[in-house]
């Protein structure tokens, strides 16, 4: 589908690559080199053939293997998503618990209103406003990039600066990387946390109405204990699902955030590829996202089994009778 959509756009990537002064012969030569003069189905078959050898082709624009480029840019995106996911999971669950705790009171309304309001704001606008306010006016955070201009990046092991700097014990790089990731991750986080708060809140409220909770209350357990130790664990399944799915949504959301914050990840790479109709790169990004989504679904399934021992696969009974 992505292949078809990318090729249906009326544009000639060979013309772009050849440059403004190229002759028709030069454009034709580039088309031949890139296989763009072949019928669509032939191009597609060649692409599929390459997939079996982990060959996603060569970028029309940079002339580098797409696999190499994805490997270069993916860690930055993964780092951003993982940090955001931590914020998301922690504050989303905490927010949900608080709003369930304070149900019906001002605090409940305030938190839910703030969460929904932040979700209603377009992420690119939020990103620019954060830059203007927190960087431009207050100077609390840096504006762009992954690390300070005067700091040398840590030796590349995973490509994630936070992790690599901890491994290298480069605390200057670590603090710089932490400060640089703050605004982009906050932008992604604010745009999505409302849903988790609401799901957690609803799940918790429903669970707190169960009979065994009444029993726990009757037995004199503290409210904190009931919520955190008894009710919340039984609310985990939809929360895990949402967190897992959110990983994939963050992958989409990083596109605009990475452009605004000049974050050199897959999102920026995808935007540049789309701008230049770099077909191999576009297909590479689409495939990358699809693989990540599939893996996330797998992890979510594993998470189910860990969170709820009653969930088993492969022939055992699910719930006790």
């Amino acid at each position: 589908m992505t292949f078809l959509v990318a090729h249906v756009v009326p544009a000639d990537p060979a013309l772009l690559v050849a440059g403004p002064n190229a002759s028709e012969e030069q454009v034709k030569r580039i088309r031949q080199e890139q296989g763009l003069d072949r019928p669509l189905y032939v191009q597609y078959m060649r692409y599929l053939q390459g997939l079996f050898h982990a060959d996603l082709g060569v970028s029309v624009r940079t002339r580098r293997p797409v696999v190499e480029e994805l490997a270069q840019f993916a860690p930055a995106t993964l780092e951003l998503i993982l940090v955001t996911l931590l914020l998301y999971a922690f504050w989303g669950v905490l927010g949900g618990v608080l709003t369930a705790y304070l149900r019906g009171r001002f605090g409940d309304d305030a938190i839910r209103f703030a969460a929904v309001a932040s979700a209603a704001v377009p992420p690119f606008w939020l990103a620019i406003m954060f830059q203007v306010v927190f960087f431009g006016r207050l100077g609390w955070f840096p504006s762009i990039g992954r690390i300070g201009a005067h700091i040398i990046a840590p030796p590349r092991l995973t490509g994630m600066f936070l992790l690599d700097s901890v491994i290298a014990r480069d605390w200057l790089a670590f603090t710089s990387a932490l400060w640089h990731i703050a605004l982009p991750s906050l932008t992604l986080f604010l745009g999505s946390v409302a849903i988790l708060i609401r799901v957690t809140r609803r799940g918790l409220i429903e669970t707190l109405q169960q009979d065994y909770i009444q029993t726990a209350r009757a037995k004199g357990l503290s409210r904190r204990s009931i919520v955190w130790k008894h009710a919340l664990p039984n609310t985990l399944l939809p929360i895990i699902t949402l967190i897992g799915l959110q990983f994939g949504w963050f992958l989409n959301g990083t596109v605009l955030v990475e452009v605004v914050f000049s974050w050199p990840g897959i999102g920026q790479y995808a935007v540049t590829a789309a701008h230049f109709l770099d077909f191999p790169a576009i297909m590479g990004v689409a495939l990358f996202v699809a693989i990540v989504f599939t893996l996330i679904n797998l992890f979510v399934d594993v998470g189910y089994a860990l969170a709820d021992p009653r969930v088993r696969y492969g022939g055992e009974e699910g719930l006790p009778g």
Partner: protein
């Protein structure tokens, strides 16, 4: 009543439970761990805060400069990557034989210390500058120039068209090179600032049967004042001073640049305001008041040589008729565009060649709106009832859309409907070049790329041109004049020919000139050595700048 559930011990252990009783005792190590992690996080955040508010400064006032650019180089082969995008990096590390001096606005010696042209205009002899080192340690000789030029011709991309007339390249000695053309080509030397010289040793070493394309894509082998020491595509690149640079390092220079890719103009401006960068290249007219009111910032606004226009499709429909083209030209008011839409940051054009350019025909005056005359022309041409036109423009350029709306309103009074469509760049190019997809009007821009107006007129209007700006035009007389200008060695005679070309184009009216935009940049006040570079306004003058 054991410890099967907390409830079963709650009565006797209630107090213990609320204070963290039985379960708490078992989870105390976990709580200690959580507490330790929290303390560490607070310490890290406190250190970060202190570090951030007192960031490490550069080692000296002029040593390192951070600048922001919207350009995002992806590959830097001088034979292939010749647009402004990689140019922002390459101008620091590569040099040509002949350079454009932005102070005198003339061609000056660079890697060639002098040159001579034979009287028939086909033989050029260059003295190669002695004592010039490449970044790989080898010394520049005539052989390097020959290898560089032949490599560009062989690969046949980028600026290779500037060498199309070259018949032979022959080193006469280590430091003397002769280039013979197949015919006189008057813009030849004017194009040389765009031809970079590469180390032949590096090309030989890294060529794997591909002319070193795969290596030079991501590595440089130039003679420029700076070396590329680090490069993260989509993020930044770092240039450091090349100690053996032939131009030397006496006087004030910045020795290290960190060039950050920042796509958004708003972000660039905030970075400039806070002193995080010393120069930005993306300034909107709306930002001008805030820049000029800040005592730490300087707005650099200079009359550019980029011409924007409505390109008219003379191959189809009513626009085939020259009176129709002249009529719709009279419906556009460039003054309103320059003064109101562009807030005074543009000039009114007079023909297609910018008036500030020496080869502009001074007899051509700006067009004034005259709807009555326009309607008369339409009647004469048999289009009094009006017709419909489709126009496309590059979507991010909203000012182009505004210009088209101004035009649209006046055209409506003449019974002409103009349908506007913003399209992405690849689509615009495709529709510009493909006769099956060409609209009636394309809003486009072209600038003078070399030190000759040939680089504007020939690519746009010659019927053999394949340049992006070439639309559905074919004017035999214009072709003849442009070819004649190329063969004319005498500059005064050449100027006369270009005057005639411009006069012809005024009569043929294939374009409606829109405006000549100012080049807008902004710098910190302590960035010195700034000079406006008319030919390459987006190329930072790394070697000239210094921080005070």
């Amino acid at each position: 009543m054991g410890g099967e559930s907390e409830g079963s011990v709650s009565v006797s252990c209630k107090r213990r439970d609320t204070k963290g009783g039985f379960r708490m005792q078992n989870s105390t190590p976990i709580r200690r761990l959580i507490r330790a992690a929290a303390v560490m996080l607070v310490v890290v955040l406190a250190v970060s805060l202190v570090w951030f508010w007192f960031p490490p400064t550069s080692d000296s006032a002029s040593a390192t400069a951070v600048i922001a650019t919207r350009f995002n180089p992806q590959s830097i082969d001088p034979a292939i990557d010749t647009t402004d995008i990689p140019g922002v990096l390459m101008v620091g590390v590569y040099e040509p034989l002949v350079a454009w001096d932005p102070v005198s606005n003339k061609l000056v010696p660079a890697l060639a210390s002098r040159w001579e042209v034979s009287s028939d205009g086909v033989t050029y002899t260059f003295e190669i500058r002695k004592g010039v080192k490449f970044h790989d340690g080898s010394t520049l000789t005539a052989k390097d120039v020959k290898v560089s030029l032949e490599r560009i011709r062989r690969i046949g991309q980028g600026n290779s068209y500037l060498l199309d007339s070259v018949k032979g390249i022959r080193p006469l000695s280590n430091f003397k090179l002769q280039i013979t053309l197949s015919r006189p080509f008057s813009p030849f030397v004017a194009g040389l600032p765009l031809i970079y010289i590469v180390s032949s040793k590096a090309v030989a070493k890294h060529s794997k049967g591909d002319d070193a394309k795969s290596w030079l894509r991501a590595n440089e082998a130039g003679t420029g004042p700076y070396r590329l020491v680090a490069w993260t595509p989509n993020q930044e690149f770092v240039l450091e001073k090349f100690n053996e640079y032939w131009g030397g390092w006496s006087g004030k220079h910045i020795t290290r640049y960190v060039v950050r890719t920042v796509a958004e103009g708003v972000t660039q401006l905030e970075m400039l305001r806070r002193g995080e960068v010393a120069y930005i290249d993306t300034v909107s007219v709306n930002d001008i008041p805030s820049i000029t009111s800040d005592p730490n910032l300087v707005l650099e606004s200079h009359a550019g040589i980029s011409a924007f226009y409505f390109a008219l499709n003379t191959a189809k429909g009513p626009l085939k008729e020259v009176r129709v083209r002249k009529a719709i030209r009279l419906a556009f008011d460039p003054r309103v565009l320059a003064e109101q839409v562009m807030n005074g940051q543009a000039r009114v054009p007079a023909g297609i060649v910018p008036p500030s350019w020496p080869e502009h025909n001074s007899a051509i005056k700006p067009t004034a709106v005259n709807l009555a005359a326009a309607k008369r022309l339409l009647e004469e041409a048999g289009y009094a009832e009006g017709f419909k036109l489709t126009a496309i423009y590059y979507q991010p350029f909203d000012w182009e859309r505004q210009a088209a709306v101004l035009w649209q309103n006046n055209l409506k009074q003449m019974g002409i409907t103009l349908d506007l469509q913003g399209v992405p760049w690849p689509t615009l190019l495709q529709r510009l070049k493909d006769p099956k997809l060409q609209p009636d009007v394309v809003i486009y821009g072209k600038w003078i790329e070399t030190a000759s107006v040939d680089s504007l007129l020939w690519p746009m209007f010659h019927s053999k041109s394949t340049n992006w700006s070439k639309f559905a035009w074919s004017f035999p007389e214009v072709d003849r004049l442009l070819d004649q200008a190329r063969l004319t060695v005498n500059s005064a005679k050449r100027k006369q020919i270009y005057n005639e070309v411009q006069a012809q184009l005024e009569e043929l009216a294939p374009v409606v000139p829109l405006t000549i935009t100012n080049d807008l940049k902004a710098i910190r006040r302590n960035l010195k050595g700034w000079v406006y570079n008319m030919i390459r306004p987006d190329a930072p003058l790394y070697y000239r700048w210094y921080i005070e």
